[in-house]
């Protein structure tokens, strides 16, 4: 990677986090720690609460119990815009761009917190990273293809040089080749350059390949966690996806 896109990472730590809507916890007592230079992935079957966990960490879903901190600063239940300012960049799974805004404007909103004169150079830097976006700067984000759209979503988050990247199923609905490239080149790349990456992925095996640590979520709780190579051959891991007991704990 020729361009430095992210600043040195900070530790993102969730301790005993329970979160959900209307006072009803969807995820319970989750402990996760993401550290600089590492990719930590959260995998698990549909509906296990992966997205809810990420949303709670970035302030979109209320945290009902436990604490979240980044770089030692507690961020539990701070408004999302404050959490963004503290260096946490979040890419949601859906609704990840502003469809009626052009690609350039999406990036500008990504750099909303930058000083005025830093925006243009920063866009240049991000475009170096996603050169494909260069040719479509005036196109509306709603008209992009799935892969281009995800690049834009990532690019938008990189505008603020985040120290922690929180990515919710970035490869959903992407063609397999594009997905692999996104995970192995870009996302792994962020971590290799010192960023902290917390990744929720449905393509569990692909996630394991690029992760340093993986948590398996089921029924709103962490049922298994460990280094990828230990998990891969663990029968409980496969079962948690294809059934046979994991859901019954």
């Amino acid at each position: 990677m020729s361009v430095e896109l992210s600043t040195p990472g900070q530790v993102l730590r969730a301790t005993g986090v329970s979160a959900g809507y209307d006072g009803r916890a969807i995820v319970q007592e989750i402990d996760v720690e993401a550290t600089p230079g590492k990719v930590v992935s959260v995998v698990g079957p549909n509906g296990s609460g992966k997205s809810t966990l990420l949303k709670a960490l970035v302030g979109v879903v209320p945290v009902l119990g436990g604490t979240v901190s980044v770089g030692g600063t507690e961020i539990t239940n701070l408004p999302p815009e404050r959490i963004a300012k503290l260096g946490v960049g979040y890419v949601p799974q859906i609704d990840d761009v502003f469809p009626p805004l052009s690609v350039k404007e999406n990036l500008e909103i990504g750099g909303y917190l930058l000083a005025r004169h830093d925006v243009a150079p920063r866009i240049e830097a991000v475009l170096e990273f996603f050169p494909r976006l260069k040719t479509m700067m005036t196109r509306k984000a709603g008209k992009l293809s799935g892969g281009e759209r995800k690049m834009l979503a990532m690019g938008r988050v990189l505008m603020l040089s985040p120290s922690v990247l929180v990515l919710d199923e970035p490869t959903a609905n992407l063609a397999p080749l594009v997905a692999t490239q996104l995970l192995e080149e870009y996302i792994r790349g962020f971590a290799d350059h010192g960023s902290t990456v917390l990744l929720v992925e449905q393509r569990a095996k692909a996630a394991l390949r690029i992760s340093d640590w993986t948590c398996v979520l089921s029924g709103g709780r962490v049922v298994l966690s460990g280094a990828p190579r230990d998990l891969e051959n663990n029968p409980v891991f496969v079962e948690s996806f294809l059934g046979g007991g994991a859901a019954r704990h």
């Binding site: 970035v58 815009e81 300012k85 502003f98 469809p99 009626p100 500008e108 909103i109 917190l113 988050v157």
Partner: protein, 291 residues
């Protein structure tokens, strides 16, 4: 031909007033999802402030106009801060907000009537020199209104496309949650939206009253219908659609007045609005909410 041109001239003036009003109205809907049916009452209150400053306090018309604009901005801001936002926090049905807005409209309009009385007011100034070109007649005042409209539309375009705030407004409209994740303080953006749209509302009220010349506390009560027609024609929440819608409705009402019966000139706006609501509620061009 001459009927056509003179009606067209009138239509352009109506459209100018309507465009200022509708753009403010549609911005409120786009960014905060409030169908603010109390907009007309804020307009007329602002118009009366301008009138008072100009006719009674003997201030220069332009200075008085600034007073009207400020009234609209502050009143709209307060309305959002103390009425709409608290109600919206309760996650009520959109219809409840509409009923609340109608309640506010009654308070605003008739509160004003209680103060100024039920009689008509008029600006005693001359309309200025009459100018005519291409068969259309304009007074200086009317040309000024068209000029103001063009400047305001230019400013709105500049705001939405070229300023940080405008882009944040559009981002908030499109996806408020993602805007916050990008560091946009959407609460602040929404407040600014109400100030700006309120300023447009105040300006619209002022030029509305100046253009009609004679007005009373309830004069703007039905104006909301023309604004709704213009907004739904261009697509709810679309600023550029609102401009186009206002131009269409403004010209169409005056043309129908010229060729048919002036008493029915608003009918075309009603018919357009009902047709749009029935068949294409997201406007001629739009399929979803965008500015």
């Amino acid at each position: 031909m001459s009927v056509f041109l003179s009606s067209l001239g009138f239509g352009l003036i109506s459209a100018a007033v309507l465009a200022i009003a509708t753009v403010g109205f549609t911005l409120q809907f786009a960014v905060t999802n409030v169908l603010n049916l109390a907009y007309g009452s804020v307009m007329i209150n602002s118009a009366f402030v301008t009138y008072y400053l100009n006719v009674h306090a003997h201030l220069n018309a332009w200075v008085a106009m600034v007073g009207g604009i400020a009234t609209g901005a502050v009143a709209s801001y307060l309305l959002n801060r103390f009425v709409f936002t608290p109600f919206q926090r309760r996650n009520l049905l959109p219809i409840t907000i509409v009923i609340v807005a109608l309640g506010v409209d009654l308070c605003g309009t008739f509160g004003l009537q209680a103060i100024v009385g039920g009689s008509y007011f008029s600006y005693r100034q001359s309309l200025g020199r009459e100018l005519h070109f291409w068969g259309m007649y304009f007074s200086t005042l009317q040309l000024t209104i068209i000029g103001i409209c063009l400047v305001v539309m230019g400013l709105i375009h500049w705001l939405l496309k070229h300023t940080r705030l405008g882009k944040a407004m559009r981002a908030t409209s499109a996806n408020p949650s993602l805007a916050r994740n990008s560091g946009v303080r959407t609460g602040h953006v929404i407040s600014m939206t109400w100030l700006i749209s309120g300023a447009l509302c105040g300006l619209a009220g002022t030029v509305f009253a100046m253009n009609t010349g004679v007005f009373e506390a309830t004069s703007a009560q039905l104006y909301i219908v023309l604004m709704l027609a213009a907004m739904f024609l261009g697509g709810p929440g679309e600023a550029y659609g609102a401009m186009l819608g206002a131009l269409t409705i403004g010209v169409a009402t005056e043309l129908s007045a010229g060729f048919f019966n002036p008493q029915y000139k608003e009918v075309i706006a009603f018919v357009v609005l009902l047709a749009m609501l029935t068949f294409r509620p997201y406007g001629l061009f739009g399929s979803e909410k965008t500015i």
